[in-house]
Symmetry: D2
C-alpha cells in the first residue's frame, strides 16, 4: 500500500509498504478514506520528536472503514465507518479509568509516532473498541476528520481547561488551526468576548469570520497593553496559549485577570518564566494537557446538530498520491493560507 | 403616585399611594421607568400566596433611576440607571454568603409580596447595594426588564440546575414565558436537541422561532412516548419542568434518561408522585430552586454581547395608566399570544 | 462445586454445581476465597427481583484468586488475587465511557442476578479486565470483601451524591449495613455532625461506636422534630435515605435544609410522595443511584492507609458449607446483631 | 492605647497611639483580646512590602469584642465576641460577589498593611458585617486566632486549590506554620499519604505528630528522587508549595504526577522556571491564591466539632506589653521551635 514515511529530519517519502496486520486480539485494521496533516507532523520532520524514528508512517487523524477486527473487538465489525482518535486508549489502565486517555499506559499518542499512522491506505488501530468511534448515518465524513485531534484539542486543552463560560472574556493567542479550533469550540459556551491574537493578518481575518469579537495583531509588540485596554484594564477570564513559545506564554501571564485561567495548548520546546512574584496573589490557574479526546462523543453530537461547522477549517484537498504536495501547501501556510488539508486515500 | 394594588382574591386597582421613603440606611428609592407582570402576580390574584396581603403594591421586576439612596448605600447614587432584582439580598447572612440570595434571612422574594413592589412610579429597594445592578452605557433598558426575574429563573432553576451541556438532549415542559426563558438561555450551552412541550400550538411555534429543535404538543396524552421515540428510546439528559402540576412532573420522570436531571422550575400547589420504585436505580438528579438571581451579571454581559436576544420575549407595551389592560392582556395569553408585557411608568 | 442456589421465593439450597467455564474471550474464572450476603439477596429470596430466576447461584460480592483468564484478558493472569466488583462493566459502552458502570449495556448488576454469582467455589466474571481489581500486597482480604458493594454503595450513592463536606450536617436514615457504610465513608469528608436514625437501639449503639455524633430512635414517630431541634431548626445539609420506604423518604424531606441534598440509597418497592408544594422553592437536590463502584480504587487506598476500618462491619464468620446458617444469622439481624457475615470458600 | 508600630525596615516599637475611631458607617471598632504574629509581618519588617509604610500598626489576625459599631452595621453590636478575618471584604463589589474577597476593590489584605492592624488594644475594622465572624458560645477563643489567616490559607490556597481527596497522595513542601496548617486541613479529605518536606528536623517531627504519613528532609538535595521512590515513581496527586522560592517550586514540578496539581501558597519574591517543555503534555494544574477566608464559617464548624485541633499550632504565649519579645521568639523559630505565638491584649 502507499504510505507517507518519515525518513529522518527533513526527509519524507511516499513509499510502498505492506498492508498492516492484526497483532493483538483487540486490534482493528482500518482502510483510510480521509486523513490530514497536523502541525505535529511538521515538528516530527524537524527532528523535534525523538519517540518518532525514521521508517515510521506518519499521521494520527482520519476516518475510514473497518477492514478487519481482532477476535476481542466487540464494538466494531468489518464495513463499519469509523472516526479514528489520535489517542489510543485501552480503557482499562488507571489513567483510562480516570478518562485521562492521553496517558494510557499502553496507548496515548502513539499513532504516527511510536507505531505506524494514518497517512496510508490502511492503518492498524490498537485497542480498537475504545479508540474508534462509529460515524453516524448521513454524517459528512470530511468534517469529521476535524474530530480526530484538532477540535478535541482546542476544546479540551483550551476551552474546557480554560473554563470558558457564558458572558466571560477570552483571549486566544495564536490563530493557527489549533487556535481556530479553540475559537470555534469556545462558542459552545457563549462567552461575551473572544479576542484573537496573531502576527498573520490573514489568519486574523479568518478568526473574525469564525466568530472572534476582536482581533489583535501582536506584530507591534504591544498586544498586552491593547488587550488590557480592550477589557477596561481588567484582563481576560481565560487566556488560551496556542503557540508554544515563551513570548506568547508571557503575554497570557500579562493579560489574565485575577481569578482567571491560562490554558496552555501549545507544544513548548523550552521552559518559560512564571512570574510568581506578581501572580502568587492573583488567584490564577494554569493548566497543561495533552488531548484525551474524551470529548469526541460530544463533538459528534454538536457537529450532527450543526452547533458547530467543523468544515470551515478545511482549505485544501488532495489525493493520497499528492501528499507531498499537501505537505508543501500545509507547510507554507502563511503563503497558501492553508488551515487544514484533506487527503483522500 | 400611581400604583397597582392587590385588594384580595381577584381584586386589584390602580390607586394613588404616597411615594415610598427610606426606612433603613441601606435602602434606595428607585423611580421606575419600566416594569412588567409575572405569572406569579396572577397567582397572588388567585389568592394562592398567603404572604401577600391585601393593600400590597404588586410587581417584582423592572428598571429605573435611583431617586434617593440611604446613607449606607455606597454603590449607587441618585441618577444612576439600575436593574432591579426580583430577589432582595443583604449580602451578609449565611445564605447570601453562599450566593443563595433566594433565602436571604431579611430578603429573598419580598418585593410585591411582603413589601410594596415595582408596579408603581417609585419603589423602595432594601439592601440596595446588593439588590440593584448598574445598567451599562447604551443598553436597551426594555430588554433588561427580562433580567429581573424571567431570564435568571429559566437559566438558574432550569438550565444550570439541569446541567445542560454541549451535545446534550433537553426537553422543556411548558412553553410559557419561563419555559421560553429556559429555551433561550439553554442555548448558551449548545445542546444538540431542545424539545419543547406544550398544549398551545402558538407557543410551540414561538418555541421553534426561539431555537427549539423539536416540539411536541402534549394534547394527545402521548408526549412521553413521542419523546422517547425522538430520542431513540434513550430519553433526555435534562428535563425542565416549567408548569408546576403533577402531570408535567410525571412526564419529566417518564422521559429522563439514566444519569439525567429533572430541573423543576414550576411553582407547585400540591405534592407529586415520585416513582422511586423505578427511579431508585436510574442515577437521576431532581432539583428545585427559587431563583437567586446570581446570574444577573453574566446575563448583562450576554445581552450586551448579543449572545441572547432578550427582547424577543416582549409582545405588548402599555403605559402605567393602562396597567389593568396590561393585566387583562397578559392574563388571557392563549388569546392574546402575550409573552411578556412592558409597562412604562 | 458447592454453590448457594435460589430456588424460587423463600427457597434456597446448597447444591453441587459444575464449575463455570470461560464463555467469552474477556471472561475470567475466579476461585472464591471469601464472599458475603447482601440485603439484596434477601430481597431476591422474597421474590422481589424478577430478573433473578430460580436456579441462579446468588452472591455479588467477594475476593478470590484468578483461576483461568480468557484470551482477551490482559490485566490479570491465573494466580492473581482479586476483588470482585458487584457491578460488571465492559469499559466500552456509552455508559461505561461516562463512568456510569451501573448501566453498562452488557453488564451492570448481573452477578447473582441474571448470571451466576459468588456464593460458590468458583464464579465466571465477564469483562474481567474492568470488573476485577488487583488486591495490594499485604492487604487484609477479609476487609476488602466490604469493597465489592457495601462501601462503594454507601460512599457513591450516599456520601458523594449527598455532597458531604467539611463542617456540614448529615443525617443518615437507616443504620443497617448500608447506612453504616455511609457513616464510615462520610467521615472521609469531616462533617461536623452525623446524626443516625433507626428503630433498633443496638444499631444506634453501633453507629455511635462507628462515629455518629448523634443518634435518634425514630420509634416515637417524632424523629423529624427531634432532628430539627438538634440542628437549631435549620435542618441538615445532607439527608441520606438508607431504608427504602415512603416514611423514611418523607423524613428526609422534612429535615433537609434549604440548599441541601437528599441522597437516596434505599431500594424502593413503591412510589413516594414528593412535597413540591413546599420544596419547589427550597433549592434542594434529590439523587438516586445504583452503585457504579467507580470508587473502588479510592477505597483500596483509604483502606490501605487506614483512613477507614472496613473490618468493623464484619460481625460473623462461616464456612461455605455453613452458608444456610449464615443466611439465617444475617436474616435475623435484630436478634443476632449481625451486620456483615463473611463466608470462607 | 498600646500598639506595635512598623518604623521602616528592621525597625519597630511598642508605642502609645490614639484609640481608633469609626470613619465609615460600616466600620466597627474591636477591642482585641488575642492576636498573633504572621510570617508576613516579618516580610514587612524586611522592607519587602511597599504598600506598608512606616507608622503603620501591624497585625491582621485576632479575636476580640466589638467596642463600637457604625450606623450601617447590622450583624454585630457592642459586646459581641468576634473573630477578625485577615481579609476585609465589602460584600458588594464584583470580586466579593464571586466570593473572591482577597480582591475586594475596597478591601482585601489591608489590615496591618495599608491601614492599621490588630497588634494593638483596639482596631478599626472596615466592612465589619462581612469581615467579622461571631464566635460561637463556649468556643476556645485562643484556638480561633488560627482561623483569622493561617488555617484558611492552608486550606484554601493549599488543600482546596490542590484538590486533595480521599485516597490521594499529597506532598507539602515547607513545614512552617502555613505548611502545617495545610497538613492539618488536608486531613479533612482523608488522603492516603501526606509527605512533608523541610530542612528543619524539628519541624518534620512536629509534622509527624500532626498527621504526616511520611517526612523528607530536603537538606541532601535529593528530595525529588526520594519522593518519586516513595510513590512508586508515580509522583504525587497534589504538591503544595509553602515556601516561596524557585527551588521549592521546582521540587513541586519534579514530583507532580500526570493529572496532578501544584497549589502554590508561598509568597514569591522572584520569578520561577516553569518547565513547559516537559509539563505541556502532563495534564497538570498550577494554582495561585491570596486567601479569601471564605472558609472561615466551615472552619468554625470543624473546630467546634473537634474535627481539627487548631490549638496544636500555638507554642508560646505573651502579653501585649511583651510583644517585642514575642517577635524575637517568632523570628528565631529554628531555635525557639515557635510555630504560632499568642499575644494577649
Amino acid at each position: 500500500m502507499k504510505a507517507l514515511v518519515y525518513l529522518g529530519p527533513a526527509k519524507k517519502a511516499l513509499e510502498d509498504r505492506p498492508k498492516p496486520e492484526i497483532t493483538a486480539p483487540s486490534d482493528a485494521i482500518v482502510k483510510i478514506t480521509r486523513t490530514t496533516i497536523c502541525g505535529t507532523d511538521l515538528h516530527i520532520l524537524k527532528g523535534d520528536v525523538p519517540s518518532c524514528q525514521p521508517g515510521r508512517i506518519l499521521g494520527h487523524e482520519g476516518v475510514g472503514i473497518v477492514d478487519t477486527a481482532g477476535p476481542a473487538v466487540t464494538a466494531f465489525k468489518p464495513g463499519d465507518r469509523v472516526l479514528i482518535s489520535c489517542i489510543s486508549s485501552c480503557g482499562k489502565c488507571v489513567y483510562c479509568r480516570k478518562l485521562m486517555y492521553s496517558h494510557c499506559t499502553t496507548g496515548g499518542w502513539i499513532l504516527g509516532n511510536s507505531i505506524d499512522g494514518t497517512q496510508a491506505e490502511f492503518v492498524r488501530i490498537p485497542h480498537a473498541d475504545t479508540s474508534l468511534y462509529r460515524i453516524p448515518e448521513g454524517a459528512d465524513e470530511e468534517a469529521l476528520v476535524m474530530l480526530s485531534d484538532i477540535l478535541p484539542t482546542g476544546l479540551e486543552c483550551g476551552v474546557l481547561n480554560g473554563k470558558v463560560e457564558p458572558g466571560s472574556t477570552v483571549a486566544i493567542v495564536g490563530a493557527g488551526p489549533i487556535g481556530l479550533a479553540a475559537l470555534l469550540t469556545a462558542q459552545f459556551y457563549a462567552p461575551a468576548e473572544i479576542i484573537m491574537v496573531d502576527l498573520d493578518a490573514n489568519r486574523l481575518e479568518v478568526a473574525k469570520r469564525f466568530g472572534a469579537t476582536g482581533v489583535v495583531n501582536s506584530a507591534d509588540g504591544k498586544a498586552a497593553g491593547t488587550i488590557m485596554k480592550m477589557t477596561g484594564d481588567r484582563g481576560v477570564d481565560t487566556a488560551i496559549e496556542a503557540v508554544g513559545i515563551p513570548a506568547t506564554f508571557k503575554l497570557c501571564e500579562d493579560i489574565v485577570a485575577p481569578g482567571g485561567t491560562i490554558a496552555n495548548v501549545g507544544v513548548h520546546g523550552t521552559k518559560v518564566d512564571l512570574h510568581l512574584e506578581r501572580l502568587w496573589s492573583h488567584n490564577v490557574t494554569i493548566t497543561t494537557r495533552l488531548v484525551d479526546t474524551v470529548s469526541i462523543p460530544m463533538l459528534l453530537k454538536t457537529v450532527g446538530s450543526r452547533r458547530i461547522d467543523a468544515k470551515q477549517l478545511i482549505t485544501h484537498r488532495f489525493k493520497l498520491g499528492q501528499i507531498l504536495e499537501a505537505y508543501d501547501t500545509f507547510g507554507r501556510a502563511a503563503d497558501t493560507k492553508a488551515l487544514k488539508v484533506i487527503i483522500e486515500a
